[in-house]
């Protein structure tokens, strides 16, 4: 399973933080890979709609996240913001980002 997390927006634009982070579960320790896959399942990722609701008028400086997962011939992307973050999806994003940094992929 390959997961890419892209983060945009926020109070300021930082070129170094806007690059996508990538984690490949095949390269992770078994326990980390299992936890990552569990969170993908908890989020029902492959059944989620591609984009959540548009931010309300007047909102500013929120972050927008795009998670793309490739697994066993399937590929799916989901986009959401700080304003409509589902806890399970956000938990998946945080773990994927943390493991990507550990793996040197971000």
């Amino acid at each position: 399973m390959r997961i890419e997390v892209r983060t945009e927006g926020g109070l300021a634009y930082f070129p170094g933080l806007s690059k996508p982070v990538i984690v490949d579960s095949a390269q992770l320790a078994p326990a980390d890979a299992a936890e990552l896959e569990r969170r993908v399942e908890d989020a029902h990722f492959f059944t989620l709609q591609a984009k959540y609701s548009e931010p309300p008028r007047g909102a500013a400086d929120y972050r927008r996240y795009t998670i793309t997962i490739e697994d066993a011939g399937r590929r799916h992307s989901v986009q959401y913001t700080d304003l409509d973050a589902a806890p399970e999806l956000d938990s998946l994003r945080r773990l994927a980002t943390e493991l990507a940094h550990k793996q040197g992929g971000g």
Binding site: E8, G9, G10, L11, A12, Y13, F14, P15, G16, L17, S18, P55, P56, R57, G58, A59, A60, D61, Y62, R63, D82, L83, A85, P87, D90, R94
Partner: protein, 356 residues
């Protein structure tokens, strides 16, 4: 008592306890009553506004005569992403001892006072909007945002960023998004979005300058000074004086802000570069303020404020249109032959936004 339908009828629950009693209970009451008082004080602003209006109508006073007063509520998300979270400090309460809570509370107050003292604006919407902020949002969350109704602050990750309440200009910046939304309502994309961002930087910086009583020459013109940890090679998120110079760090990259139209960045990222190209109008304001000299909030700030309220602005106003209106408003305020109007013209010309 029968009230006009616009205000509804006063329910005893909303009219029975005077705010001073609730605030006394919140400050000094036993824990169970204190919590109840905090929850009541945190009720939605519509209910509270109606209560005030009910009270005034009973005494025959007109709502417009109501005293202007701050109504701040600070919540904690307890490191979740649930908003608004749990009430931790309401108007009139003493310091909580939690730096993020107290900085948010003080920053809301400083911003409210700035807008009222200088521009006679009654809170964000000029109608006395209650000010809400949530701190301790998310886990190691490196950001602050305005969700259209309230401010939200992360604690930072401690490696690159400290807590986001640490910079007063950031608090002023976020609340000014609410001001812009209730005035020009500039669309958050492309040039209108960069203007939206720039206006937040301008008044965020002025809130800080006003608190420090600094002239345009004395001010640092930085946005977010103090947010970075010592590990970051940089001084702030942005520099209005010298866009593109705020940081140059191995992890964060180099500050991408342009200082003039010739360097305008075409991009689909960041809502079309709203935090990037804001460097151009930011520097125009800095130049106008320093050419005029003295306290920037008095004249340059007034010109920008009146332009933000200018009904001829559209939601998709671009740099050129906004600049032209600042020149016109400078003429209205100080005269068509004034040094102030000339300073504004020269400022825009220097950043290559032609106005004359």
């Amino acid at each position: 008592m029968s009230l006009p339908t616009r205000f509804g009828r006063c329910h005893p629950i909303h009219c029975i306890l005077p705010p001073y009693l609730l605030q006394n209970l919140a400050r000094n009451g036993p824990p169970d009553l204190r919590n109840i008082a905090l929850e009541v004080l945190a009720l939605d602003s519509t209910i509270r506004s109606n209560r005030i209006i009910c009270s005034m109508m009973e005494t025959g006073a007109h709502p417009a005569l109501a005293a202007v007063a701050k109504h701040r509520t600070v919540y904690t998300a307890n490191n979740s992403t649930t908003l608004p979270g749990q009430v931790v400090r309401v108007e009139g309460q003493a310091s909580s001892g939690d730096a993020a809570v107290d900085e948010a509370y003080d920053g809301l107050g400083a911003t409210f006072d700035f807008y009222f003292d200088i521009y006679q604006r009654n809170s964000i919407d000029d109608e006395g909007l209650y000010l809400d902020a949530t701190v301790h949002y998310g886990q190691r969350y490196d950001n602050a945002f305005w969700n259209g109704q309230q401010m939200v602050f992360g604690d930072g990750d401690g490696e690159l960023f400290q807590r986001f309440t640490i910079s007063l200009d950031v608090i002023g910046h976020e609340l000014t998004h609410g001001v812009t939304d209730s005035e020009a309502a500039l669309v958050y994309s492309g040039q209108s979005g960069a203007l939206n961002e720039s206006i937040s930087d301008v008044f965020g910086s002025l809130v800080k300058q006003y608190q420090l009583k600094q002239t345009a020459e004395q001010a640092d013109w930085l946005i977010g000074a103090g947010l970075f940890t010592d590990r970051v090679q940089g001084v702030a998120l942005r520099s209005m004086k010298a866009p593109g110079t705020a940081y140059d760090d191995p992890l964060l990259g180099k500050d991408p802000q342009p200082a003039k139209m010739g360097d305008f960045v075409e991009t689909s990222e960041d809502n079309g570069g709203v935090h990037i190209n804001s460097g151009i109008p930011n520097r125009a304001f800095y130049l106008a303020a320093t050419k005029i000299a003295g306290y920037a909030w008095e004249k340059a700030g007034r010109i920008w404020y009146e332009t933000l309220r200018d009904t001829s602005l559209t939601q998709t106003t671009n740099f050129s249109r906004f600049a032209a209106r600042t020149v016109i408003n400078a003429g209205h305020l100080y005269g068509t032959s004034s040094a102030e109007r000339q300073a504004v013209i020269e400022a825009w010309n220097e950043v290559e936004v032609r106005v004359v």
